[in-house]
């Protein structure tokens, strides 16, 4: 098998939890016979019709050629799995020079039950601008298994959910009006 390792850098998936992919070949290069249409090959055909003979020249014809079979390229995943052992949904409550203080909530909890100071070094530089009060993020801690090796990994990803849609705003406005009516009964 030909491993096109130089293409490794093109592996598009560098996200946690999904293994980076590489482009590999399916097998060795080989040769095969095939009928190839060659437009340069002219073929003269003679025939008789109602006692009169006639001839016709056909431009191009199929010829037998020996061709090279190139390997078919395909994406193959490396053996790299992420096993999550702890995860939180967090909300930034305060931003300081050392990092962000966040309320942490495990899945299916109504209220946050934990709190932590997360240093800036733990937050991806691309996400640091998003780390404002009220910003939401997911924090996953677990093992990254890479070809038999186990690495402990902590990964924080800030949520980029587009702001309220017109439909959501209209629904919220209607609901707020219903709530307001309760106070005026």
């Amino acid at each position: 098998m030909t491993d096109v390792s130089s293409l490794d850098s093109y592996a598009y998936s560098n996200q946690l939890g999904s293994a980076p992919s590489v482009l590999t070949s399916s097998g060795d290069t080989d040769f095969a016979d095939a009928m190839i249409y060659d437009p340069a090959q002219n073929k003269d055909t003679a025939f008789e019709f109602n006692g009169e003979s006639s001839s016709h020249t056909q431009h191009g014809s199929f010829v037998r050629r020996r061709i090279m079979n190139f390997p078919v390229a395909r994406i193959q995943k490396k053996r790299r799995n992420f096993r999550e052992t702890s995860s939180w949904e967090g909300v930034v409550t305060q931003v300081s020079d050392e990092g962000v203080i966040a309320k942490l909530c495990r899945r299916y909890q109504d209220f946050p039950a934990e709190e932590a100071l997360i240093p800036w070094g733990e937050i991806d530089p691309a996400d640091q601008a998003l780390a404002k009060e009220g910003a939401m993020f997911s924090w996953k801690v677990g093992y990254l298994e890479n070809n038999g090796q186990r690495l402990s990994v902590s990964h924080i990803e800030f949520r980029r959910i587009p702001s309220f849609s017109a439909r959501e705003l209209a629904a919220a406005k209607m609901k707020a009006a219903e709530y307001s009516a309760l106070f005026h009964d």
Binding site: T85, Q109, A116, M136, S152, F164, A176, F183
Partner: protein, 370 residues
Amino acid sequence: MIEALRDRPANDEIEISLFGPGYGESIVLHLGGGRWCVVDSCLDKDTGRAAALVYLEEIGVDLQRQVEIIVCTHWHDDHIRGMASLLAACQNARFICSSSLRESAFLQIVALSETIRGAHGGGLNEFARVLQQIMMRRHCNEPSPLETCHAGSVLLERRDESLPLKIASLSPSDTDHKRMSETFAEKRNQLLSSEYKQSVPTMHPNLGSIVLRVEIGKQMILLGADMESRKSKTGGWSAILSQAPAASKADFYKIAHHGSNTGDMPGIWTELLVPDCPAVLTPNQRLANPLPRVTDVERILRRTPNAFATAPASLKRKRLEQPAERLLRHKDIAVYEIPSSQGHLRARVSIHTKDVWKIHTYGRAFQLAP
């Protein structure tokens, strides 16, 4: 539950039970004659239910008939957890909240926060659950329990000579109400203008919270909620002090805003309370700003030697599952538990005599000392 806690107060006995797990506050008041009032709500660690609900059930109170009012002083997480279940269980209780909370900007924030998944809006979502429950009762043609109050409102009055009772709210003042309206409008606009959806930014509704004065027989109780002082004389504690009747002073005080410096004013102790009266508080164990601080405890002890807390203010580091524990220790990141183990202070006194309050501490509760 501890066995000693299972005894119900006598009909002519006032009881104040303060639950404060470290993050949260709930007050259960026996008003005499087997009638009860609940102020705010927090969760019981063992059951995950409202602490007031668990306690009242344990001592055999008929929730549907004996709980008269539920007061929600404000909607912060630590004062509202479990409120919807409390209201559901106490079918005939009136539900009273601050008049600031009927502002359309606030209600829009509540409705918007319901659309943000993963934001764990906490207090806002709980308030939404309360409103949904009231809405459901309205659909069933049941009377609405919802009422609002402001400074000077009388929430409950009983002129029975043997058990006279009056519960009045001393806040929010008009100035505080206006300030809260502006804050809600500002936060709603901030929420709508942000590029990405975010959790509702912290609002400080403490100025809109409800301070209560409870007069039962010869006893008077001041429940400070999370009220804070302001520079303006028409807002915060200053507004309350300026309108306080000189003759009536409370014998028992629930210290405002977890004993913080901003929740205190010398005038509270000189104008509103009798000297050395028992004072109780719940801590607020947060990473950013745990309350009370050592200086706060010293200040409180200068005001009264009879001060109690439901739990210590220090936060407990949480031991996580592996490999998170090992990895985060290596990275020097500590995850702290927002506590919910119960601390309970119970104070009782006779309605008819000016006896000394008998205060018992349970769980993590303790008497403050220098």
